[in-house]
Amino acid sequence: MQNAKIHKNHFYVSAPLKNGIGRYVCQLQRVTLKFCKTRGDSKGIRDFIESYLVDYAKSNPGVVVYLKPRRHRPAMLTMEFLNGERHELSCCQFDGFTVGQFLNLYTKCSGRQESRLINVQYTNHPSIQGPWTPWTNRNPEMAVADLIHDKKWREMYNKAPSATEMVLEMFKQQQISNQIQIEEKQAE
């Protein structure tokens, strides 16, 4: 996909105009079935009209169904939505059942343009503890410290003691233990 087109039509999961959260309004306004009475392409749509159309119209009273027989013209479905969008679908050589499937699909559509879904998840509370900032989990001493000149901030994390430091530490411990021994002797 071209980079320029990625951001044009995109959406997060949402109900357009909060449809269905309170009351649900079917967004499909009218459906026009265009077909030819004799052409072979329109066989499927003719079968659909004979068998399923009346049931469909009864079960969806909000949708207005028009039939438009046109001589020697291909089979078409024209959907018009409440927001003014129009969608045309060619039904040439469709099965009657397939026509019904597509009609059911468009009955459940909103008139929103075909767009790219960015995320399947939606939440009104994206963060419980609060979104991350550069100051989350930051040592509060850093606010008062001289970060540029104080060398302790630059030192390697978990730096192992050098041989010099180890010897000095051992010397210190030796001095302390010697002192303790001297004090014990004095106590006696």
């Binding site: 979104p131 991350w132 550069p134 850093m142 970060l147 540029i148 390697m156 192992a160 050098s162 010897v167």
Partner: protein
């Protein structure tokens, strides 16, 4: 966006200025670490298109430490497009001409031809020594910890520390403590020995 959400956005995407001391550090390993901060990869809200990169100020680039014989062997190639204009500059020469270039190239190369690296490099600020630009210094609010430990040099240690260092071994009365001398260049000596060996 409401005012509260706007402030939250500013806080979350605030650009941070990090400091990194390159003294005694391997520039190639440091380059990888610095690139991570330049791109903002350490942030939990990282996104490639989110413009969440940070600034990094690298100091002491002059005192960088290359591993092994890289100072002599590593070579920077440059071509000025006209025939015969190709040059191969060893690292030591590059360093003497511009002490910042070795570190800069290390960071640049760590991004392996990524098309965004020219833009990412714009947020990198390199200084040869401890002195930082007076406009940049007040912005620094974080320090990136070093990768290699910095050793203490004996000649730079305070005198009292050297003198008061405990005696580790019992020495003879006649034992003479040798003076600290500079060790001669063993490589040139080794080459001479090899040559003499071949002649024989």
């Amino acid at each position: 966006m409401s005012a509260v959400k706007r402030v939250q956005q500013w806080a979350s995407f605030a650009r941070v200025w990090h400091l990194f001391d390159a003294r005694w550090q391997n520039p190639f390993d440091s380059g990888v670490l610095i690139a991570k901060y330049l791109k903002g990869l350490y942030k939990p809200l990282y996104g490639a298109q989110s413009l969440c990169g940070d600034h990094v100020v690298v100091i002491n680039c002059r005192h960088v430490a290359l591993p092994g014989n890289e100072w002599r062997k590593r070579v920077y190639f440059h071509h000025a497009t006209y025939p015969g204009s190709q040059t191969w500059t060893p690292a030591w020469e590059m360093h003497t001409r511009n002490p910042v270039m070795v570190m800069k190239k290390a960071v640049y190369t760590s991004m392996h031809g990524n098309l965004q690296r020219r833009h990412t490099m714009m947020r990198l600020h390199l200084f040869a020594d401890e002195e930082i630009d007076p406009e940049i210094a007040p912005r620094i609010s974080n320090v990136i910890k070093q990768i290699r430990p910095v050793p203490e040099r004996l000649d730079l240690m305070p005198e009292e520390k050297v003198k008061s260092f405990p005696q580790i071994a019992d020495l003879d009365k006649d034992y003479v403590i040798p003076e600290l001398k500079e060790y001669p260049n063993w490589e040139s000596k080794f080459r001479k020995m090899k040559k003499e060996g071949k002649k024989k």
